[in-house]
Subunit: 584 residues, 2 copies
Amino acid sequence: MGPKVVIVGAVAAGPKAGSRLKRLDPSARVVMVDRDETISYGGCGIPYYVGGDVAEAEGLRSTSFHMIRDEAFFKGAKGIDVLAGWEAVAINRMARELELRELKTGRERRLAYDRLILATGASPVRPDIPGIGLEGVWPVADLHQAQGIKAAVSQGRVARAAVVGAGPTGLEMAEALADLWGVEVDIYETADRILPRFLDPEMARFAENHLREQEGIGLHLATPVEEILSGPEGRVRAVRAGDRERETDLVILAVGTRPQDSLARKAGLEVDEGGGIVVNEHLQTSDPEIYAAGDCVANRCLITGGRVRLASGSVANRQGRVAGTNAAAGRPRARFKGVVGSWIMKLFEVSAAGVGLTTERAREAGFDPVSALVVQADRAHFYPGQELMYLKLIADSKTRRVLGVQGFGPAGDALAARIDAVAAALPSQPTVEEISNLELAYAPPFSSAMDILNATANTVENVLEGRLESLSPEEFSRLLKEAKAGSEGGAVFLDVRGLANVRPYLESLADRGWRHLPQESLAERLDEVPRGKKLVLICNAGARSYEAQVTLKAAGFKDTVNLSGGVAAVKRWGEPIIPENEEG
Amino acid sequence: MGPKVVIVGAVAAGPKAGSRLKRLDPSARVVMVDRDETISYGGCGIPYYVGGDVAEAEGLRSTSFHMIRDEAFFKGAKGIDVLAGWEAVAINRMARELELRELKTGRERRLAYDRLILATGASPVRPDIPGIGLEGVWPVADLHQAQGIKAAVSQGRVARAAVVGAGPTGLEMAEALADLWGVEVDIYETADRILPRFLDPEMARFAENHLREQEGIGLHLATPVEEILSGPEGRVRAVRAGDRERETDLVILAVGTRPQDSLARKAGLEVDEGGGIVVNEHLQTSDPEIYAAGDCVANRCLITGGRVRLASGSVANRQGRVAGTNAAAGRPRARFKGVVGSWIMKLFEVSAAGVGLTTERAREAGFDPVSALVVQADRAHFYPGQELMYLKLIADSKTRRVLGVQGFGPAGDALAARIDAVAAALPSQPTVEEISNLELAYAPPFSSAMDILNATANTVENVLEGRLESLSPEEFSRLLKEAKAGSEGGAVFLDVRGLANVRPYLESLADRGWRHLPQESLAERLDEVPRGKKLVLICNAGARSYEAQVTLKAAGFKDTVNLSGGVAAVKRWGEPIIPENEEG
């Protein structure tokens, strides 16, 4: 007989670990335990089930060949015994026994193990808000809750919904409710932007503008929910936030998750101070016969070397496989070295994605981040259907190491291609030069000869070399606002595009210092450039204005700044350059 | 005054090198020379111009902000002098002079240089076919030829066209002619498959079937064109190949390109025996004041360490930038370490892509390649709109290094994401395990929790470990053909899917050894499995049949093979499993 292996948790990492283990050692006796009676489902698919892309909850529990992954499936197809509805209460490491209790009956039992795999997942953080227990307030942590939400919505009981938290789950749920069901959605977020752990401020703002203006989502940033208010019969009636009450029929709680590490902690296994079970690169816990995989793990960050928590069905699956391999062998064999934190999400008609550190997190980790934002077509600029992609690359100024990249644009798969390339390179700690030279597959229907990813790395290099001094869309908007009509002392906004582009800006903003000199005649018309003033250089996307900056610097103009991402970025930033009452 | 820099070649690498150089050192005096009077165009866009996606030839010569990149543009916007219509005849390295001749007038002149950049490109191989000089026979090497082809087609003079060569250019031209213009296209290829340097046979065949069956392209493989036949007035009338004549109104020559290295060779610079100028990682030739960039270079292959020739507008642009950087500095500074050979192409409604070595090229380079073909949804299998992607990963059995990947599927951007990730990892010589653990951005609209790329690496690992013995679609089709009706001694085709899938196969093929045992009940029904016979294990995509193989091996069945990619791969392979007259 093979080893006795017990797995705690049967959603993603657990089933993968068990299945892999049985394939490697069919003689192993595997028991998988879960509190829930519903096991092995694609939790990441919950928003798509609620939003109607996946018609039935069974869709999230099915294999690609349409079998429901229930207890009978695991028994027959995988040779795994499942104890569903049983909670793991304690690990007796000396005796190598797991203590279990059946939730329905309170019955207890013990399971002996040779190896134990912890795949206990993460649990949603319950925010400390009065009224959180009212009917109609839902976390999004399991399939039962998803079914509850969908039932309420599909029965027409929800006209307005409040989402607490603008992380990935909150935003995906907002889309699910608004897009198919036409629910009026308000999102409340304590931070000053959406996806605060994932996006830099200007990238977040591009997405925020899309959500507000194109999709009609109410976004309340820096606005914590203070209270959930009760209507008749203990049902939610309204949400109070920022000293205002807004009626609502449903509240979704999506303020993040926390690794479920209490079982490990009680058993004396090493747990990270920020939460999560500590494992080595073979996914062994501090007890070498106990493995951990999935959302319950404190992962090694391959960029900072520190530990990060990460809830991802994809990481869970890959870790499950590694834990299963090693538990089958009974010795360290397969490795999972760590994570780089790649992510992507669909936001209605656009997508946002990234990998690695944001500027803020890079700074927290002790790096000195510099970055560049590039706006460029997502395929050859002459190819029909091309759309603008927005890409920001962050690097450390001392080592020139690339720390992260973030992107935004309508073509999600094309955005994934750039993010995935950086994700694949990040474990080997690439320099900016290596991303400049990254050899993405090229043909006009898919990319540019100088792809936006290469171009963004080139731009960061120019920043590092001190050749490019740039101005963010936010700084630009502030500067333009400060430019009083007729103020002669202020900055000059030098627009280097063609006249057709520039004309409306000249008509409206000449008295605030907007000037025109096309880049291609700049070198010959240097005497027309005002001396002794700050020159803000402007074009559509930031490339031609960079050429202008080079020319002006060589001619001795010292105070020049290049508008990063050009007019395209300012438009996404959402402050009209030409005052709105003058347009049209 | 800055250095005098002369650039030979003004299509892709040359203009990029010059522009970069002038940005770094505006005091440099840069002259760019080209034989052609039309310069700086996106040659890779030619098929899209001919096919109508790009309406005017100017589209390929324009910047993203709609300026034509002509001599005036380079003078004004870039500070570069252009000598168009001048051929570089010789390099006098002692005197540091370039000898030029104007093609129209025969006039000669010399240009002194401090540094020289060779960006002479590649020229189309002219196949040795009688009749190649006839009117209506076109190579696709420059914009003039593209305009000639488009004129003929758009004036309705072309009902049938013959394309010589089934490489990327030939296939893209075939699409251009067939798709918009409705031209009947025949492609002739000497090799036994399309894209022979890029795709393994079964991957090529998937694409061939699409071209033949869905798009009506005539594909004549292993069929060299023997003669191009003349009609009245010296115009092409027909093509003779494989002892058959086919009428045609137009012949496109697309049998590959050869680096233009004769100028370098004459000047005594080191040139690779297979063609192409030899450079170090700073793109310096054997004369450190002479750089080379683009299609004229013999590139270092980062996988084999050997030299490869590669015609790519993307590599040309990135090399141009590196050469420009170093020529500006006058010393080695920026690096271009080599290439991994990533590529992608649109083929009507599907795309094919890859990076690295094919099985054949891996063997030539001295590796011992093993591989796996995986067929899986290109996003979560429960997400609407998902389609099957076909991915093949090749690794070296001794070192477990990944050598290459090839893919095929309808979602080109999504395919690019997988190829680009491997392309980004390849320079650091990843093992199969590292691709198994690659952290692609995950969300159900874009990928699976266990992405097809991870799954393909997992499958290669199983092959390497001897756990998975697989049968290609080709071998399967042969075996099934050999299975005579009623022959009791042959292989057993054990279909482990659900009965609904299997029923038509059982009805038609039971007497050839087709049997049904669903995977999930296999372990309990082992006594029903025939002993002493070769067992061919079959499911939809190859995963469930692998589970069956594991179970059968553990039960002592020695001769089992798993149908790689399952029924999905055989369908793409194009041999009907159920004889066609029995279907329907």
